[in-house]
């Protein structure tokens, strides 16, 4: 299998870079500082700036991006490709910038396939570095505006990058006008009707700015003629319709419309790699939680389910996933660096449907959320930690919806289950 070992073909400096980076990652893991994927990649890249390109050579790479669902979809695609019987490199811990991608590849030197979650901003550079076989564009909406690029600008950068990547197939959500426009310059696109729940960033045409005409999932621009492209994969209710027109129930273990949408995208990618659809679907049904998301844990007699959502579109989808009343809900918000330091986005979420159930509010920015709920006339109580929430909930189940670092804090308290 020596010829399959990509590392052995690397130039000497790159081999040293992956070894030293790997050692740093091990030290970082042993020191309890995360999984080490970022520090390993950073050190490797410092020794060999072209390390990522070198590591990607000769592999079939899939890049997965979008505002929401990157981590889950990366996991689902990895599962859907399993029937190929080949080792797959993947950044399963969500380290999705250059160092994280580099680390994922250097840890699996023999893997001929790679499925890599990629930060939205890094798509142009990562397309250039990895010459991907497939790029997946899920959705695009407002997110962490204090550090992320503006989204029309981002869509334009994607469009330019993909227009200059002739060997790359794009699998894109046709129902998101910004995504469809970004993918539109590519020569090979698989269009997926993956749905769009959040629409407040795509009322206007990304090409000319006119107010779009929208009917159901269809959209078109009355001025420049830009319109939703014809699709070959469709999510409808709980079923997927494949390009031959055959419908199959998804029956996922993962909850919610957003995950059904991610699963249909994963099937389209698997199909592009020649995987039998029924076999791919069987693998998708076996995925039960992703990096702690949707995990169920028990705490002092209360079954707690953890949901992660980081921005308005994510919260909208997550509120749909909540168990119906009277199951109590704990909402928790922080504003550390990874969350975005600006809590303005709370005002883009409609909380009124939480009326009529016990709502608990926690996290470092609980007052921001409290004022927001007050404006929506949702009664709530403030809590300092998860145990106080369990006590006040006084119920056998508690749904927890938190943004990134708030979620990680609860996971640390409740114990990582994977």
């Amino acid at each position: 299998m020596e010829e399959n070992n990509h590392r052995s073909r690397l130039p000497m400096r790159a081999r040293l870079a992956t070894t030293v980076g790997g050692a740093a990652a091990t030290v970082s893991r042993l020191a309890g500082k995360g999984d080490g994927s970022v520090i390993g990649g950073i050190i490797g890249l410092r020794l060999e700036p072209d390390l990522l390109s070198l590591l990607a050579q000769g592999r079939r790479v899939v890049l997965v991006t979008g505002t929401n669902g990157k981590t889950t979809t990366t996991r689902l695609i990895t599962a859907a490709l399993r029937p190929l019987g080949q080792e797959i490199a993947s950044n399963i811990y969500g380290a999705n910038m250059e160092a994280g991608l580099t680390s994922a590849l250097s840890r699996a030197p023999g893997a001929p396939l790679a499925v890599l979650e990629t930060d939205e901003k890094y798509i142009p550079a990562m397309v250039k570095a990895t010459s991907p076989r497939v790029v997946v564009l899920l959705n695009l909406s407002r997110d962490q505006m204090d550090r992320a690029a503006e989204i029309w600008l981002l869509a334009r950068r994607w469009r330019e990058a993909l227009g200059n990547a002739p060997g790359c197939r794009v699998v894109a959500n046709a129902d998101d006008p910004l995504v469809a426009w970004a993918a539109g310059a590519s020569r090979q696109v698989t269009w997926v009707a993956a749905g769009q729940r959040w629409r407040d960033d795509s009322w206007c045409c990304p090409h000319c700015g006119a107010h779009l005409e929208r009917a159901g999932d269809d959209w078109s621009c009355p001025e420049c003629g830009n319109r939703r492209p014809p699709v070959s994969w469709v999510l409808t209710g709980d079923a997927v319709i494949d390009p031959s027109g055959r419908a199959r129930p998804l029956d996922l273990a993962l909850p919610g419309r957003a995950n059904r949408s991610n699963a249909v995208v994963a099937l389209a990618v698997a199909d592009a790699f020649g995987v039998n659809i029924a076999h791919a679907l069987r693998e998708l049904r076996g995925v039960t939680s992703v990096a702690g998301r949707y995990t169920q844990v028990s705490r002092r007699g209360c079954d707690i389910r953890l949901l992660l959502a980081k921005n308005p579109a994510g919260w909208l989808e997550a509120l749909d996933v909540l168990a119906p009343p009277p199951v109590p809900v704990l909402l928790s918000v922080n504003a550390q660096g990874p969350d975005g330091r600006d809590t303005s986005w709370l005002w883009d979420v409609d909380y009124r449907r939480l009326r009529g159930r016990t709502v608990l509010v926690g996290g470092e920015r609980k007052l921001d959320l409290a004022v927001r709920l007050e404006a929506d006339e949702v009664p709530f109580r403030l809590v300092n930690d998860i145990d106080q929430a369990v006590d006040l909930a006084g119920a056998p189940h508690l749904e927890v919806l938190a943004n990134y670092t708030a979620f990680q804090q609860y996971r640390a308290v409740l114990g990582r289950t994977e």
Partner: protein, 237 residues
Amino acid sequence: MRPLRLVWIYPDLLSTYGDRGNLLVLERRARLRGLPVEIIEVNSDQAIPRDGDIYLMGGGEDLPQTLATRRLQADSGLHQAVAQGAVLFAVCAGYQMVGMEFGGADDTPVAGLGLLDIRSGRGEQRAVGEIVADVDPALNVPRLTGFENHQGVTRLGPRARPLARTTLGTGNGDGTEGAYAGRVLGTYLHGPALVRNPGLADLLLSWAVGPLPSLPERAEELALRLRDERLSAVNAR
């Protein structure tokens, strides 16, 4: 009683991050005082009503900012309303738009709506973070606390007054923050700027309807706690 008409201008183009908050805060503080409220959201393919009481403009990226300005010029409804004495509150991109000129994509100057004597262009670096500013004493509003996220630099002409002087953050770029003239008021505090500044919300309401009765204490306890917490977090209490 004729309801107070709150007009949100172009939420389809000018709503990047929580801009709805300003509408909700004004609505709540009016209703708590027994004022009926009518909310009118006007998309960019619709006409701007002339008979609103308070008009709200939010933030936007470069292209939407230029498109929205062009449409508002062609529509002229906002100009008529302001000429008749309506209140206009504009944040971030909206603040730049109400001026004489602003920097569009690639910093090419774009003619603004000419409702406030300010000129904006693009600065060297983006201003992102908490901002604190002391309001013009003539307005009798407590210091501003908010979040700014822009790359604009704004100079005031003789017919506009600075809204505030910055003690933290960038604002207009010359130590002042925001501007006002008559009942047109703009600020670089972005998104839901009125949430942490209920005094500013009440100023706008009083411009529209006259002196306001005070609120029941409990009604603003949380907003004042949030305000204190944010000011303390940046050592500005």
